[in-house]
């Protein structure tokens, strides 16, 4: 196996995107994604069984397309990587079985990868690669690029909301805080439905919020009371955690009150105030976690990284706290196979042993398990 510039194929199927990405070391060759998002629109959220059915039908065509785009054959691949968790159990199963079959058919080593850590792995891809046509030439760089020390990652999507500390992307990742109920993106979807704005909720609310007054209404910031926060010396039980279910209820109640009074519901103001509440609490707690844990570099990942207000406020608060912020290109923030391949390549370059083909997908895989 080439351990300095390994050619790695990554497979992602933890939610509603079927992704196959290929990297050579830290150079992105292709990132092919097939999404079943359109099939979930009428349900207002991802339906696991529909996502699983779509993964089954999308996998081989997506693989075929990725190999063609990267202009590599399976024989050239050094290793295969697949998301084995966390994620939707039935959806993970499809990608994991496909990856194992690929390993059996080609005899290539297989790495079972943590989806959340893979979101951080995209930060190690060389900027600008993957956009130009792959030439087959060895990309610049000497292989294992290293992450900065004191690195953190803020992941915000429809499936997760986490702040991580990464001491080593291949073997030392720690979960500092996470949502205790809904993911932020899920809260956006639910509130968008309440406001009649359609699915996915993130872009719809973000757009409408620009025309609304965020200060017109004040919605609660979950888990910010002293009993949850404690102090830096004596942290409370949820100092760096989030909760969005109370916020969703508050929005519902607010809408009902306008209706009960027979008034027009100020949808734009509610959207703006809701967005402000989400973004405020996410960034406040993330920056607090960074400051108190000596984190000086943060990567923003996950689909909600597309949100204009989240980017703006994260940028602002990081700058104020002396933290350097990196936001990968949006196509790499959402779920994709390239991030899985990128982390797989890091594991190969670090000399980590492959996982074999006997592992089980784990829908609640902890971030401390970078690879199974």
């Amino acid at each position: 196996m080439n351990r300095t510039q390994p050619l790695v194929l990554g497979i992602e199927s933890s939610c509603d995107e079927t992704g196959v990405g290929i990297v050579r070391g830290t150079a992105l060759l292709t990132d092919t994604v097939s999404s079943s998002m359109d099939e979930h629109v009428r349900f207002g959220g991802v339906i696991p069984e529909i996502a699983s059915r779509a993964h089954l039908d999308a996998f081989v065509p997506t693989l075929h397309e990725a190999l063609a785009e990267a202009d590599v054959s399976l024989a050239d691949i050094d290793a295969i990587a697949v998301t084995s968790g966390p994620g939707l159990a039935g959806a993970l199963m499809v990608g994991v079985c496909a990856a194992k079959a690929l390993a059996v058919a080609t005899g290539k080593p297989l790495y079972a990868i943590n989806h959340l850590v893979a979101h951080v792995g995209v930060g190690l891809l060389q900027p600008g690669t993957g956009t130009a046509a792959p030439s087959g030439a060895t990309p610049p760089g000497t292989g294992a690029e290293t992450l900065p020390e004191n690195m953190g990652a803020l992941l915000v999507s429809g499936g997760h909301t986490e702040i991580l500390r990464i001491r080593s992307i291949t073997d030392d990742v720690e979960l500092l805080g996470s949502t205790i109920d809904d993911a932020a993106g899920e809260a956006y979807d639910k509130v968008a439905r309440l406001l009649g704005l359609g699915y996915p909720g993130g872009p719809a609310i973000d757009k409408l919020a620009r025309t609304g007054n965020a200060k017109a209404i004040r919605f609660p910031r979950g888990l910010t009371q002293p009993k949850y926060m404690g102090t830096a010396e004596e942290p409370g039980p949820h100092r760096y955690d989030w909760s969005f279910s109370g916020l969703k209820t508050a929005v519902a109640r607010c809408v009902e009150q306008f209706e009960a009074r027979g008034e027009d519901v100020p949808v734009a103001d509610i959207a703006a105030a809701f967005q402000e509440a989400v973004v405020d609490v996410i960034t406040a707690k993330a920056v607090l976690a960074c400051r108190e844990n000596g984190i000086t570099e943060v990567l923003l990942g996950g689909g909600v990284a597309a949100n204009s207000r989240l980017r703006q406020l994260t940028e602002q608060r990081c700058t104020a706290a002396g933290i350097r912020l990196t936001v990968p290109p949006l196509s790499l923030c959402t779920d994709n196979g390239a991030m899985v391949a990128a982390l797989g390549a890091q594991l190969v370059m670090a000399g980590v042993e492959p996982s074999g083909i006997g592992f089980a997908p784990d829908s609640s895989m902890p971030v401390t398990t970078v690879s199974a």
């Binding site: 069984e49 693989l63 079985c97 390993a103 089980a360």
Partner: protein, 223 residues
């Protein structure tokens, strides 16, 4: 002709069948567990090929059971078969999974001329199909597959694990009362049909049930 057959409609199983070996059996494995397909299937196939000294190059076709069966397990076999067929560039066929048991019934000494095969569909239901059979022929699928309550099955002898579970309401045939579809019989059935010049299915899963997703109704207004 050498076929690699896979079925995960109930248990996880795979087999190598060939028209050049007695009874067409080369090698096979089947687990008893119906919930660990993702762990056991690939290692099982890997060992099956290695033990038989067979490489992907030697395989002429891949056959997958297309159900009916519990969805998550069913997909693990189908995606495995599709991926192997893609990488090895081999033809891929589907066979209705209940056919595997029907073939075993037809080859047994106590087959009726008309019978039902039933497997566990969970949620207190069975997957079932009706077959007709005359000597020295392959069983013929006359009706199905369907999903429904065992109590609603036609009044015929019922073979398979779906009969054993509901022997209080169906005419369960005792020797077959725990029988699950397995890749060995599935592969034999596929081989026999291909040799007879008959068509097989493609690898589209037979879910028989919708995804259970509910389109949310309009939100209740406060007034």
């Amino acid at each position: 002709m050498l076929i690699l057959a896979i079925d995960t409609s109930a248990v996880a199983s795979a087999a190598l069948v060939s028209d050049e070996t007695p009874e067409s059996v080369l090698a096979s494995f089947a687990t008893e567990d119906t919930r660990t397909h993702a762990e056991v299937l690939a290692p099982g196939i890997d060992a099956l090929l290695a033990d038989a000294g067979v490489s992907g190059h030697d395989v002429d076709a891949i056959v997958t059971g297309v159900g009916p069966g519990p969805f998550t397990g069913l997909r693990s076999g189908i995606v495995t078969a599709r991926t192997l067929a893609f990488v090895w560039n081999k033809p891929l066929y589907g066979v209705m999974s209940l056919d595997a048991i029907a073939l075993e019934v037809a080859e047994s000494t106590d087959s009726a001329a008309e019978f039902i095969v039933a497997t566990d569909a969970r949620r207190k239901e069975v997957y079932w199909a009706r077959y007709t059979f005359s000597d020295a022929q392959l069983p013929h699928l006359a009706d199905g597959p369907h999903v429904g309550f065992a109590a609603d099955l036609p009044e015929l002898p019922v073979y398979g694990a779906g009969a054993g579970m509901y022997s209080d309401v169906v005419k369960a045939v005792a020797e077959f009362s725990t029988r699950q579809p397995e890749a060995l019989s599935l592969g034999q059935f596929a081989l026999a049909r291909l040799e007879a010049g008959e068509q097989l299915l493609d690898s589209t899963p037979l879910y028989l049930r919708e995804s259970d997703a509910q389109v949310p109704g309009p939100r209740k207004r406060a007034l």
